[in-house]
């Protein structure tokens, strides 16, 4: 299993990508897609990246739904800021958040979530102190942001990756 499919998640994603690109779920395309998935997975071993263990698919779905809702909400919020509606006084600033997470894939997912949400931005992660610095476009309450990131995202990512 591990020799043939070193990265089962990546390989299944590649198969799905192949089938979607070809817009066809026929026997031939599934066969070709499996070939792409197997070769792609094997090529990744050359990079010697750490293997990933993902658990709790239910939590992943819940987290994805939550991130989607948050992205829509902050799209509206940032749109309002850009167009100049709402409070004129806006204080952008940096927040430092102490993280418990050390798993590299968990941190990478958190970086993607934070950066693709308009209004928050991943700036730096100090691995020694475990301190994450984010930039917030409309910083009202630092404590609230620390709570938001830790409770809404980090808790779930810890369940998934650690």
């Amino acid at each position: 299993m591990t020799r043939l499919l070193p990265f089962p998640i990546v390989s299944s994603c590649l198969l799905a990508l192949w089938l979607l690109l070809n817009q066809a779920v026929t026997f031939g395309h599934i066969l070709l897609g499996c070939l792409v998935a197997l070769v792609g997975g094997r090529i990744l071993t050359v990079l010697e990246i750490p293997s990933v263990r993902v658990r709790r698919p239910g939590v992943i779905m819940r987290l994805l739904a939550r991130v989607t809702v948050d992205i829509v909400r902050s799209n509206l919020a940032v749109g309002r800021i850009v167009l100049g509606f709402g409070r004129w006084q806006r204080a952008p600033g940096f927040v430092e958040i102490p993280l418990d997470m050390r798993a590299p894939y968990g941190l990478a997912s958190l970086a993607c979530i934070i950066t693709s949400t308009p209004g928050t931005l991943w700036v730096n992660f100090d691995a020694q102190r475990g301190a994450l610095t984010i930039h917030v476009l409309d910083l009202v309450d630092e404590e609230e942001w620390i709570r938001t990131i830790k409770d809404r995202y980090e808790r779930h990512l810890l369940e998934i990756f650690e």
């Binding site: 799209n75 850009v82 940096f94 934070i114 693709s116 949400t117 991943w122 476009l137």
Partner: protein, 131 residues
């Protein structure tokens, strides 16, 4: 495959609404790039286009071509997913570079680098220079 004139009215309206919404969201994001003050603020703006903007435009394309070809056309999902996964990487690298430069400039000026964070207020000159 039929031409665009064979699109039934309901699908045409849906496509137009999705397309215009996506374009408007992306335009607002680009406007933010112009209007916001410092580099760190500006990086927030384009994410509007890469998230909701792309989703709406991809949805418009899916509706239009699914109806025209009378089968589910789904590969636009790939654009949304791959875009969502790759944009944060570029933005994080950009911000990392800006932060590195700020920290180096502050060290050169002999300012304390304690937290190593430029506290960018609106119109802050040192942070605005980073772009």
């Amino acid at each position: 495959m039929n031409g665009i004139e064979h699109l039934p009215p309901w699908a045409a309206v849906l496509t137009a609404v999705f397309l215009l919404t996506g374009a408007a969201v992306t335009l607002i994001g680009s406007l933010g790039l112009l209007r916001l003050g410092t580099f760190y603020e500006r990086v927030h703006a384009p994410t509007l286009g890469t998230t909701l903007g792309t989703v709406f435009i991809a949805a418009a394309s899916m509706v239009c071509f699914s109806v025209l070809e009378s089968r589910a056309v789904l590969h636009e999902i790939l654009i949304v997913v791959l875009g969502a996964v790759t944009t944060p990487i570029a933005l994080t690298v950009l911000v990392g570079a800006a932060r590195f430069r700020d920290t180096a400039e502050r060290a050169q000026l002999g300012e304390p680098v304690g937290r190593a964070l430029p506290h960018a207020a609106p119109g802050d000159a040192s942070a605005g220079k980073a772009d």
